[in-house]
């Protein structure tokens, strides 16, 4: 049924906006963990290809802040930052990534969880980022749809399919 499809698709598009990435690193777990929490290491790899990090400040304890200013190859700076929610050395790291608008007001919080597992001398890293505010809005958005007008779901599905 188109309506059911519509809802399923819409959920896939909005309510479950979560990024999960798993990687195996050929390095001991303690070192991989340190690469995330020691600014000396962190500034060497954080960000997209060709980016540098002229500012990298890390207060690696629960409630402590991190702040990184990324500089693109075109010289444009991209500040980012957040707060550590959980630090379990060398297993688990949870922190927020705060996105701000032009006036510095937070508009979206990303919550990132990184787990580090030992696997025969290598390290399995699993990273999950959830866009917190986004998911909240999206869930409410879908509720509004379901409580509302059933005939609209089909056309909304068409709109969502274009996304």
């Amino acid at each position: 049924m188109a309506g059911t499809n519509a809802k399923g698709e819409a959920r896939g598009n909005f309510a479950e906006r979560e990024v999960v990435i798993t990687r195996i690193f050929d390095a001991p777990r303690a070192l991989v963990f340190k690469a995330w929490t020691d600014p000396k290491h962190l500034k060497r790899w954080w960000g997209p290809k060709m980016f540098t990090n002229p500012v990298c400040e890390v207060d690696a304890r629960v409630g402590g802040a991190w702040r990184i200013v990324m500089r693109g190859p075109d010289g444009v700076d991209y500040p980012c930052g957040g707060v550590y929610r959980e630090i379990v050395e060398p297993e688990r790291l949870v922190f927020t990534n705060i996105a701000t608008d032009n006036d510095g007001n937070p508009i979206l919080d990303g919550l990132t969880t990184v787990t580090f597992e030992e696997q025969g001398g290598k390290t399995k890293l699993t990273l999950t980022t959830r866009a917190v505010a986004l998911v909240e809005y999206a869930a409410a958005y879908l509720q509004g749809m379901e409580a509302g007008w059933t005939q609209s779901l089909e056309s909304l599905a068409e709109e969502l399919a274009k996304l």
Binding site: D26, N97, I107, L108, E159, K162
Partner: protein, 125 residues
């Protein structure tokens, strides 16, 4: 915006604050079935026309709806592209992490080969 992003942050925050209101979400859901006039849109809500118009202005500013030119009819139409921007914003995280983790991998390899070399040098001495 905390991450390099093709979407201007003010646009994204406008879209999200427009979506934050249940009446406006209901308006969007109704418009998904076709264009409607302000009067038609106002019908199911216990709300004055000016109050509904206010919501429509917010949606229009956010680019989530467009209004017809006809002075009498001025139908509202759903515009989905800002919703796509919101979806892209999250997808952007994936690209960011994939590239960062590539670099982390390279860095860890370089770091360890350097340590090994140092270790060998020490043993030689």
């Amino acid at each position: 915006m905390s991450l390099p992003n093709p979407i201007p942050p003010d646009t994204l925050s406008t879209t999200l604050s427009a979506l934050a209101d249940p009446t406006r979400r209901a308006v969007l859901a109704r418009l998904a079935s076709g264009d409607l006039s302000v009067t038609e849109l106002a019908e199911p809500f216990d709300m004055s026309l000016p109050a509904v118009s206010k919501h429509l202005k917010v949606l229009e500013r956010a680019g989530l709806i467009a209004r017809g030119r006809d002075a009498q009819w001025r139908p509202c139409r759903l515009q989905a592209s800002p919703l796509k921007d919101v979806a892209d914003w999250v997808e952007h995280y994936r690209r960011f992490w994939e590239e960062s983790l590539d670099r982390l991998d390279d860095y860890l390899q370089a770091l360890q080969s350097k340590e090994k070399k140092h270790g060998r040098n020490k043993r030689k001495r």
